[in-house]
């Protein structure tokens, strides 16, 4: 524990502080058909304020890696540090908010009640809960929907509410597992734009799992390309795109060049099987 704290302090001293680091990470599932290597020798560093996308076909371990960071899975070998401590300690310290594929709002709670849920669990005082709910609702542009029930909202609005819920307790890290996967293209574009604005305002570190190339390139400062069997990282692309990104940027040559490199990376991964 002491050494981990020391690591955290050392990392804090560096100019671009490392928030998440993985070294020689392996995860093997035992199944009835024998062992499945979900992650193989994964090394990765994520700096503070990065927007990192994980892209790859299904089975490449992108979701598994996110779950390892969130302490929802335990790696077989290797180390992961989140904020300089183990994922378990980070989870208990409420270091991250996790947004799942489905909004997963409780139908018996209003939107406000759903966002309040983690705050209640973490024991925030009542008045502060109300303040925070108002603040994050504003952040995801859902002010005025506090008293509505989830079924009264569209799919995109529900997913925004679930992002608000993950933001409510001020975690520095936002882990997002294909949050817009079930939404249509137009809604997705809109939410991507909003997410970028939100990221700029809150300066959080975001890890974002997706299987859409344009989404990954549009959103990220760093794109991690992964491939399956065994799940591993094949390419890490630092995006040269500016922080300010209108939707039109997707037609620029730089954008298309990065998209091309991602596609090449994905294809190279597939050549293995």
């Amino acid at each position: 524990m002491m050494t981990q704290k020391a690591v955290a302090q050392a990392a804090g001293a560096a100019p671009a502080r490392t928030v998440i680091s993985a070294e020689g990470l392996n995860l093997v599932y035992e199944t009835n058909d024998g062992p499945v290597q979900a992650l193989k020798d994964v090394d990765l560093e994520i700096g503070k304020g990065d927007f990192v996308s994980f892209i790859g076909p299904s089975g490449c371990g992108k979701t598994t890696f996110l779950r390892v960071m969130a302490d929802l899975e335990t790696p077989t070998s290797g180390t992961v540090l989140v904020n300089g401590v183990t994922p378990e300690a980070a989870r208990k310290a409420r270091a991250y908010g996790y947004v799942f594929q489905a909004a997963g709002l409780y139908p018996w709670r209003t939107i406000g009640g759903n966002i309040r849920l983690p705050l209640e669990i973490m024991g925030y005082p009542k008045a502060e809960q109300a303040d925070r709910v108002q603040r994050v609702l504003e952040l995801v542009e859902l002010s005025g929907f506090e008293k509505k029930y989830p079924w009264q909202l569209s799919g995109g609005m529900q997913q925004r509410a679930s992002i608000a819920r993950a933001l409510a307790f001020d975690a520095d890290i936002l882990l997002m597992d294909e949050p817009f996967g079930a939404l249509d293209e137009i809604v997705r574009d809109h939410l991507n734009e909003q997410l970028l604005a939100l990221w700029a305002r809150t300066e959080k570190t975001i890890c974002f799992v997706t299987h859409s190339i344009p989404e990954a390139v549009y959103l990220s400062t760093k794109i991690v390309v992964m491939s399956p069997r065994p799940g591993r990282i094949t390419d890490i692309i630092e995006s040269p795109l500016p922080k300010e990104r209108p939707l039109e940027i997707r037609d620029s040559p730089e954008f298309l060049e990065i998209a091309h490199r991602v596609r090449e990376g994905l294809r190279a991964g597939h050549a293995y099987d």
Binding site: R91, P107, E120, I121, M122
Partner: protein, 286 residues
């Protein structure tokens, strides 16, 4: 208003079948009587007499209605001859047994969901308990409880409990397990305690299951209370009325007790339905 016509049609069909069956079943006795008295009956006389016997095989609806009117409306509710009094006695045991059964079922379900040992060991016993005919075990429960000095309402309620805890266990285990893996993972990302997970996720998620099981439990509980009154020679309750009716061939009394039991069940189950609607509405789920 749209419901009235179908309902009336069904009621009418039942009455027609009932009157017809009364003629068929009571006919032989009327014919025998007539033969003994050397009378020749016209068809209309025959039908009229099958509907007016004192101890018919199947009493006609109006006979049962008259008996019900006589024993429900014309007697003081505290009188032993009032069907309301007997229904009250049975209802007390039903409601007490239902309450105990629901509590027991709920407690067992929580144990099964949260404790692996209970998960593996309790369910087979719960199922086995329901394969024993209640008629066989009811007298033993009464005798055993009597031997340790418990008599009156509680033994009957215990039999009701025995029948009513089962649907609650089965329904609540299903209900408490209804949150999916994602919702449980989500609780974990917030480092929620088991108690928080129970009160904020599992319990509210199980509400629709709880009410469905409680409706079945209430009906089972009423059956239990009536069965509990049969072997004990109870002097009060709908079961006692049924038993006395069958001793003395009072079919009209039996049928009115049966209808009273059906009405009681409808009211009790309807009451749970009402609580269900109010609760789910307040939870925003209906």
């Amino acid at each position: 208003m749209r419901n009235v016509i179908p309902v009336l049609t069904v009621v009418l069909a039942i009455l027609v079948i009932w009157y017809g069956a009364a003629v068929m079943l009571n006919r032989q006795w009327v014919l025998d009587q007539a033969a003994r008295q050397d009378r020749v009956l016209t068809t209309s006389e025959l039908i009229a007499e099958t509907w007016a016997q004192e101890k018919p095989k199947l009493p006609a609806p109006h006979q049962v209605a008259a008996e019900l009117w006589d024993t429900v409306a014309m007697k003081k509710p505290t009188s032993k001859r009032s069907l309301v009094y007997h229904a009250w006695v049975t209802m007390s045991a039903t409601v007490l047994g239902f309450g105990l059964g629901t509590l027991l079922g709920f407690a067992l379900a929580v144990g099964i969901v949260y404790n692996q040992v209970m998960d593996r060991s309790v369910m087979p016993w719960v199922i086995a308990s329901q394969t024993i005919p209640i008629l066989a075990i009811a007298p033993m429960i009464i005798v055993v409880l009597n031997a340790i000095g418990i008599s009156g309402l509680l033994p009957k309620a215990m039999i009701s409990m025995y029948l009513s805890f089962f649907p609650v266990v089965v329904g609540m285990v299903k209900g408490l397990r209804s949150p999916d893996a994602m919702q449980l993972d989500q609780m974990r990302t917030w480092s929620a305690t088991r108690a928080q997970e129970f009160w904020r996720l599992r319990l509210p998620a199980s509400m629709p299951y709880l009410f469905a099981s409680m409706k079945i439990a209430m009906a089972a509980s009423l059956v239990g209370a009536i069965v509990g009154e049969l072997p004990t020679g109870a002097v009060a309750g709908l079961g006692a009325r049924l038993l006395a009716g069958s001793y003395y061939g009072q079919t009209i009394q039996i049928w009115s007790a049966l209808l009273m039991a059906a009405a009681l069940a409808a009211v009790l189950v309807g009451l749970i339905g009402l609580i269900q609607r109010i609760t789910l509405k307040r939870m925003g789920m209906a």
